[in-house]
């Protein structure tokens, strides 16, 4: 706060006015300067030094940011910061709000749709034997065949696939709504998460709100053709409201659960965002 200037320290009533007007006269005489602003009062130098020091102390708490440079606590702080961003992201997510869809003309050509593999481009899934194992908080656990998933209503969508690296492409994805599948298996949709496991040991999780979003698909087609091996045959997640790494390929198992047990997802467990809704 500004100091009280109505009672200048240690000066007689007369001298204060005298000093102020003298300064004003001095400046008015000098031709190159316009009249300076007048001082409204005086302050003893010692007092001024004290005021300055006090003001410096008042701003010193900004140095608290320096805690981010302390190695011992740095990672914990950053993890907390990221968690806060995830909390804000979850608050911003709207269950009914669709991700933008695009005309066919806007599609990225299939050959230009990148393949980001975790371990291999083809984990050697046996497409003939393949089933999706469903377990957890649901009424009908067990092995589900692709035909059962394909029997559910098919939805196709041209949506933007955003990679955490910063690139994006617009792809055409086709499949059954995850919400329809969850309905079919009698899943408890009051549970918090869906987790998935993959043939290449990749693993991911989705919050239930996102899992139930109408554009979240158990995707078995890309560009109107069955998924190729590189793109996750026979089944992958297509979740246009989430970042790319959440859209796991080569699904083998799905679980409805309230606990993650520290396993959120392959990339999340290394320090990437857990929620990463777009």
């Amino acid at each position: 706060m500004e100091p009280d200037t109505r009672k200048p320290v240690a000066s007689e009533d007369g001298s204060e006015t005298h000093v102020a007007s003298e300064a004003a006269v001095e400046r008015a005489d000098s031709p190159s300067l316009t009249p300076a602003r007048e001082a409204v009062g005086t302050v003893e130098q010692a007092k001024f030094s004290q005021i300055s020091r006090r003001e410096l102390l008042k701003v010193a708490p900004v140095l608290a940011l320096g805690i981010f440079a302390v190695p011992k606590v740095q990672q914990a702080l950053l993890t907390k910061g990221l968690a806060f961003s995830d909390w804000a992201s979850a608050r911003l997510f709207r269950r009914g709000h669709p991700a933008p869809t695009f005309a066919d003309a806007a599609l990225t050509p299939f050959e230009q749709f990148p393949i980001n593999d975790y371990d291999v481009d083809d984990p050697g899934v046996n497409l003939e034997d393949w089933t999706l194992s469903a377990s957890g908080a649901l009424q009908k656990p067990g092995e589900y065949h692709l035909e059962q998933i394909q029997a559910l209503p098919k939805f196709r969508q041209n949506t933007r696939h955003v990679c955490v690296e910063g690139w994006d492409v617009i792809g055409r994805f086709g499949g059954a709504r995850l919400s329809d599948f969850l309905n079919m298996i009698g899943a408890d949709t009051s549970a918090r998460y869906i987790t998935v496991a993959c043939a290449d040991d990749y693993y991911e999780s989705l919050d239930m709100a996102t899992a139930l979003h109408p554009q979240t698909l158990l995707c078995y087609e890309m560009y109107d053709r069955p998924l190729t091996r590189e793109h996750g045959a026979p089944l992958r997640l297509s979740v246009p409201t989430k970042i790319g790494y959440k859209q796991a390929k080569y699904l083998t198992a799905l679980k409805v659960t309230n606990v993650l047990d520290g396993k959120v997802g392959y990339w999340e467990d290394q320090g990437y965002s857990s929620f990463y809704g777009l």
Partner: protein, 231 residues
């Protein structure tokens, strides 16, 4: 609201002599926001460059044509995951300090000493000429000259744009209308990058001026008080 000016005096016995004037230019909240924002900006730019390194291009992924190679040594975070942690943590401090600053300036009326208006248009060129050694120094009559007002007003606009473009690329689905306004996700990412460069240009100019304008001026941003103001 112009800054309060005091005469600093030294009294010895019954003699009082003036040792100079001091102007209270920067209220505490302004100083807090300035330093919090400055540190945050440093971290955001540094981590931003590390994020950029993951895909240093503005075109298709296939084929990838990198725009520039930014050295890891000048980036914060070490890897994409680390950089995102820094970026998504410090953006909140950046946002909060920016919002508090703008709100305070408006509600206290303190913005008047730094806000660029049409009255400042005429003063910009003489000041620029002077800094390029093409003209003599215009008289100092107020805490901020026209060129400074231009800079400190523009930087607020840049700050707002950095937040909005960042929001568009962080949340292109929930804020799809914002991304659309910017020309889409691709463009929003490019705008975010370009706004950063404009910010860096400001920072370069700003730091140059801070160095040129001496210790008293720098101290004023810490204590609020500028000794021996020229006005």
């Amino acid at each position: 609201m112009s800054s309060t000016i005091l005469e600093v005096v030294r009294t010895k016995g019954d003699q009082t002599e003036s040792v100079g004037r001091a102007a209270y230019e920067h209220p505490l909240l302004v100083r807090w926001c300035h330093w919090l924002n400055a540190v945050s900006l440093f971290v955001l730019v540094g981590s931003g460059f590390q994020i950029f390194r993951a895909f240093p291009s503005f075109g298709a992924k296939i084929p990838q044509k990198d725009l520039l190679h930014w050295p890891k040594a000048f980036a914060i975070g070490g890897w994409l995951g680390g950089a995102l942690q820094w970026h998504l943590t410090f953006m909140w401090i950046y946002l909060a300090s920016g919002l508090v600053y703008v709100a305070y300036q408006i509600f206290s009326g303190n913005y008047r000493q730094v806000w660029f208006t049409h009255r400042d248009l005429a003063g910009v060129c003489p000041m620029v000429k002077h800094y390029f050694f093409l003209g003599k120094k215009p008289p100092v009559t107020e805490p901020y000259n026209s060129l400074q007002k231009h800079a400190y007003t523009t930087v607020i606009v840049l700050g707002a744009l950095s937040v909005l473009t960042g929001l568009a690329i962080w949340k292109p689905v929930q804020f799809s209308w914002l991304a659309w306004l910017m020309g889409g996700f691709h463009w929003a990412r490019l705008w975010h990058f370009l706004v950063m460069w404009a910010m860096l240009a400001f920072v370069f100019g700003h730091l140059t001026m801070v160095v040129l304008h001496g210790w008293n001026n720098f101290v004023s941003k810490l204590t609020g008080w500028k000794k021996d103001p020229e006005y």
